[in-house]
Symmetry: D2
Subunit: 335 residues, 4 copies
C-alpha cells in the first residue's frame, strides 16, 4: 500500500501517523521524502487494512493498493488451479469442460426427469433447476420450493446427474444438505450473512457475479465463503448491467481470462442469463469455451413457450444438443 | 399490455393464444388486425402477468407493458402522499424535511451519545448508526452487532431521537423490535426473503436503492414489503453505479421527482454514500432538498479520521451544523 | 507521478529507466527502495508524460498520477473563477445566474422571434437555437443550417439577446463569426480537430460533456481549446449515459461542485437533454442552481407538440416563465 | 409503429391526429379502440418518422417502434452478407477470417516495414497503422500525420498489404485517396458531418463503435454513410464503457452475433483496444473468432515498451504469431 501524504503534513504528524500504522497492523512503514511531498510504503499483510480508513486521515492526500485485498482466492498464494469434486466422477477446474443444464424452474416430476435425461444424453454432467426462485415481482411464480428440491433428487436418482440449485436464505441450509452444488444468485452476491453461513458448510458453492459487481468485489465475496473454511467456490459469470439494452445483460467475456489469472478458482459461464435470448446462447457458449471457461450453465426446457419463468432464454433439448456438440468439438480442437 | 404477434401467426394460433390469456388471467383481450400483423391489447389487471413468459411464446414478436407492474406502491391507485409516523412526533412524507444523522458505525456509548446530542442540536430528528455493517471485505470491521443496538437505544433514551439502523438477515428481526426504522442496505435491496419477512412486521422500513437498480426494480422491492401488509416504506436514493469513478457512486437526482410522480411513498437522499467524499455532502444535500426530497440521511462522526468505517465521507458535528442550517433555510425559502 | 517497479526489476534496469525519464521529461526522479519493491516518484511537470507509455514499460508494475493531467483548466494554477463576457452586458461565471433559452431547432423567423421575446421577458439573457442539428438518423430533420443562423441574428437584433448555437464541423467556423457563443455538442466533445480550430478563435465556447465522458476527459477537451489560446470555455453538464433508462440520460448533479473545485471555468446545466421529459425540467433546474451552477440552458418552444425535434423535452413559454421565476427566487435565497 | 393514445384523447382529436400522420408520412393508420384506451398502428415506411416527435404530441401516452429505424444496413431488406473487396485479393465478409495488424502509430519507415513484414508472415492480410492519432491530451503525441500516410504506402509497396488508417476530419479525405480502408474512430462515430462526406467516397470504411454507443446507434451511423451511396461499411467492435475498470473497456462479445443478425455488414473485433492489456489480446481474439467475427484488428509493435502510444496493449511480432496461429486453427476447426 502506497500512501501519499498532503504537502501540509508536518514531520511530527508524519511520525505519529507512521507509528499508528505500525502499532495497529502487521506492517513495516518505509518513508520516502520527496521535495514537495512524502510517500509512505506499507509492507506486510495489508489485506486487513481498510483503504477508506486510511483515505479519511487528515494527513493523507491519496492511497494506492499494490496488493490485492483477497488472500485465499488469490492465485499468488495458491498457484495451482483448484479442482472441485462434485461427486459421481464430475470434477470442475481440472481442464475438462462440464455443462450444467436444466430448466429455470422445476415444474413437475415428469418435466425434470424428461429434461434431465435429455441433457445427460447430450453430454451435460450436472442438472440445474430452480426450486426457490428470486423474482423481481412479488406476484410472479416463486418456485416449487422444498417440493422442487425433492423432484431434483428424484431426477438425480433416475439419471445419476449431480444437482445444482439456488439458495435464498441462510435458514434453508439444512434443507440443501443433499444438494451437490449450492448456487448463490447474482442478487445475493453481497448477502454477506448468507455467504458466511455457506462458508461453514462443506458444499461446493456456485457464486454468481452480481449485476454490477466488479471482478474484485466478486472475488471478495468468494473470500467471504473461503474465510470461513470452505474453499469449494465456483465462480459464475452471467453478464453485467450496462447501458446497452438489446440484451438483458452484457456478457463480460474478459472476466474469464482475468479471473483465471487473478484466482485459482474455476469459472463457469451462464450464456442464458447473460443474453436473455435463446438464439444468442450458442454463439456465447462457444465464445466462453474459447475464452477458457471451465464450464457452462445453460437453461433447457422441454417446452420453452410454457416455461414458468425465463422461457425466452431457454433452449429446447434439440437446440441444446446442437450447442453441446459444438462446444465439445471446440473444446477438443483447442487442446 | 400490448402484444405484437409474428407475421407468421395463423388465425387459429391467434385464437388459441387469446383464449389461453383469457383463461389464465383476469383480462379482456382485444384484437386489432392490421394488414401485415396483428396486435393484441390486454385490459385488466396485468401486474400478475410475467412479461417474459409472454415474450417467450412462439407466436409473439414483441410485448409492451402499458401499466406499471407495481400496484401498492403506485400513485395511480393511491394519489395521496403516504405519511409515515416514526414516533416521538416525527413524520416523514408530510411536506416537512427530516434529517437522519449519525455515525456510519456505532463505536462506543460515549461516541454515539456525543454525536446524537450534537446532531439533535443542529436539527436532526432521527439518529442513524450502524450496528451490523455489510463490508466488502470479510477482514474489515463488521460492527458491534447487538451491543451496537443497545448503545443506540441508550442514545435514544438520552436524546429522545428515534433510531434507524441496518438489518442484514431475517433471523435478526426480533432483535430489531425496539428499533424505530429498520434499514435495508443497497446490497440487500433484492434479498427478497428479507423483504418478505419485513413485510410481515409493522415497522417503518428505509429501503435503499440497489447499486444498479432501476427505479422500477426499486419500486418492485417496495412492493415486496407492501404485498405482505407493511405499507411503511421510505425509499432512499444513495447513488448508482456508473462509469464515472471520481465519486464512489453517481447521485441520481432525477430519481427524486420521478419517484414522487410514480409513487406515493416518501423519498430521502443519502449524500454521504452517494459521493463518498465529505466535501460533496453539502452541495448534494442542498440539491436533494431543492429537488423535493422528504429527508436526508447524513453520516456524522465526532472524529472522522478515526471512524471505523467510511470516515472519508463523514462530517464533523460542526460541518453538519453548517449543512443542516443551509438545508433548513433552503426548505423555508422553497415554501 | 508514482511508479511502482516490478519485484524482478534489477538495480541496473532501475537506473537505466530513471535516466530515461530524466532525459526525456522535465522531471526529477526520487527513488524509494523498499524491501520487496522499489518506487519512483516523479516531480515536475508530469502533464507531458503519457501514463500509458509508462505503464507499458517492462520494468513497471503500476503507475499512479498524483497531479491532474490538465494545466490551463486547472484551478490549482488559476485560483480565481474565470468570468466570460458574452457581450451586451452578460457575464458568465461571476456569481450571477444566466439562463440560455430557446428552441431545439430554429424553424422560422416568426417562431424564433416569438420565443426570443417570451424567454427574454421571463429573464433569459441568452437565446439558444439549433441551426445545424446532429441527429442519430440521417433521415431526420437536420436543421435550417445557414438560414437558421440568419434567423438567430434577426432575433438577436429584435431582442438584444446574445445567441448560442451548435457547430458541427471546423470548416463552418467562418460562418459562425457573428455568433456570440459557439456550442460543441456532446457527440463532438472528443472531435479533437474541431476543438483545436475553435481554440484558435476568440469566441466563447459552450463545451457539452460527452455522453459517457469522465470529468477528467471533459476537462481535457477544454484543455484542447485552451492549449490553442482560447480560454473562454463554458462547461455544460447535460446528463450521462447509465443503465437507467427511465430518463434519456442521468443528470450528474455532482459534476457541478466537482468541476467548480477542479477548475476555474464556469459550468452550466442542461436539464432538458439530461431528462428528455418536460415535466422533469423544473426540479432538475432548481437542483442544478442549488448545487452551484453558473447558468442553465433550457429548451423552450412556442408549440412543443409541433417542434421539429426534441419536442418531448421542450417547455412552453408559460412553463418556462414558472421555472425561471423559481430558479431566480432560489438564487436570491441562496445568497 | 404502435402509438398508445392517452385515455383523455377525444374521438375528434384522434381523427385529427390520424389525418396528420397520413398526410405527412407514407403510412396507413389502423385504429384499434379498446375499452380504456385507443391504439394506432402505423404501417408503411416508418423510418422517416421521428419517434420523439410522436412522443411529444399532447394526445400520445407512449410509442413503440416495431420496425428498425435503419434500412440500408438492415438484413431484412438485404438478406445476403455484404462482401467488401479491399483489393489485392482480400475480401471481408465472405466467410474468411482477415487480420489487420500493425502499430498503434506509424513511427518510422524502418519500424512500419519491419512490422508489416512480420505480420504478413504470420498471416495478416491488411496493415494497420495510425498517422493521425486522436489523443485525450493535447500534449500527447498526435501522430506523424501526412508523413505517416506516406510511410504506410511505402510499407504497402514493400509487402503488398492493403492499408487501413484513421481519418479525423472531412477536409483530409483527399489525402486519404490512396488508403485502402479509411477508419472512423470510436470518438467520431457520431461525427455526422464526417460520416456524410465519407458516404460520398467509394472507399471501404472501418466504422468503430462509439465508447458508449448502442448497437442501434452504431447501425444508424453506418446508415449515414450508406445513405450517401457508399455501402462498403465494415463494423468494428472495440469494447464499450462500463463500470468495470479492470479493463480499459468491456468487450461486448454479444455484439458480433447480434450485428450479424440485424445487418448484412461484416464485423471485425479489436481485442487490443477492448482490453488495453497485451495479455488479454489472445483470449479475446479467440473468443471473437469463435463468436463469428469476420476479422480482427490487432496492435503489433516491434518494441512495445517504446511504442509512442498504447504500448501496454501491443503485442510483439512473436506474440502476434502465436495468436494468429491459434485463431487460424480455430477458424479451421469451426468450419
Amino acid at each position: 500500500m502506497i500512501i501519499v501524504l498532503k504537502p501540509t503534513c508536518s514531520k511530527e504528524q508524519q511520525i505519529k501517523f507512521s507509528n499508528m500504522l505500525k502499532d495497529n497492523y502487521d506492517v513495516k512503514v518505509n518513508v520516502w521524502e520527496g521535495v514537495h511531498s512524502t510517500v509512505l510504503g506499507l509492507l506486510g499483510d495489508t489485506t486487513q487494512i481498510d483503504i477508506e480508513y486510511i483515505d479519511a486521515q487528515d494527513v493523507v492526500e491519496s492511497v494506492k493498493r499494490v496488493q490485492e485485498p483477497y488472500k485465499k482466492a488469490n492465485r499468488k498464494f495458491h498457484p495451482e488451479n483448484t479442482v472441485i469434486d462434485i461427486g459421481n466422477g464430475v470434477k470442475i477446474g481440472d481442464g475438462s469442460l462440464q455443462i450444467m443444464a436444466g430448466p429455470c424452474s422445476v415444474e413437475s416430476e415428469e418435466q425434470i426427469i424428461e429434461v434431465a435425461k435429455a441433457v445427460k444424453k447430450s453430454g451435460a454432467t450436472i442438472l440445474r433447476g430452480g426450486a426457490f426462485k428470486p423474482r423481481t415481482s412479488p406476484y410472479a411464480f416463486q418456485g416449487l420450493k422444498s417440493e422442487g428440491l425433492d423432484l431434483l433428487k428424484i431426477a438425480r436418482k433416475e439419471t445419476g446427474l449431480p444437482i445444482v440449485t439456488e439458495i435464498m436464505r441462510a435458514s434453508h441450509i439444512d434443507m440443501f444438505e443433499n444438494v451437490d452444488i449450492i448456487q448463490v444468485g447474482a442478487r445475493n452476491m453481497q448477502n454477506f450473512e448468507l455467504l458466511k453461513e455457506l462458508g461453514k458448510t462443506n458444499k461446493p458453492i456456485l457464486l454468481k457475479r452480481g449485476l454490477s459487481a466488479t471482478i474484485e468485489e466478486w472475488l471478495m465475496s468468494a473470500e467471504y465463503i473461503m474465510a470461513e473454511g470452505n474453499n469449494k467456490v465456483i465462480l459464475c459469470e452471467r453478464g453485467i448491467r450496462t447501458y446497452e439494452n438489446f440484451t438483458r445483460n452484457t456478457l463480460d467475456i474478459s472476466a474469464i481470462p482475468i479471473v483465471k489469472k487473478l484466482s485459482h478458482l474455476p469459472v463457469v459461464v451462464d450464456p442464458s442469463h447473460a443474453s436473455g435470448k435463446s438464439w444468442l446462447v450458442e454463439p456465447l457458449a462457444i465464445a466462453a469455451v474459447a475464452a477458457g471457461a471451465d464450464g457452462l450453465i445453460i437453461e433447457v426446457h422441454n417446452d420453452p413457450p410454457h416455461a414458468l419463468c425465463d422461457g425466452a432464454q431457454s433452449l429446447t433439448p434439440q437446440q441444446f444438443d446442437t450447442v453441446a456438440n459444438k462446444v465439445f468439438s471446440l473444446k477438443n480442437a483447442l487442446k
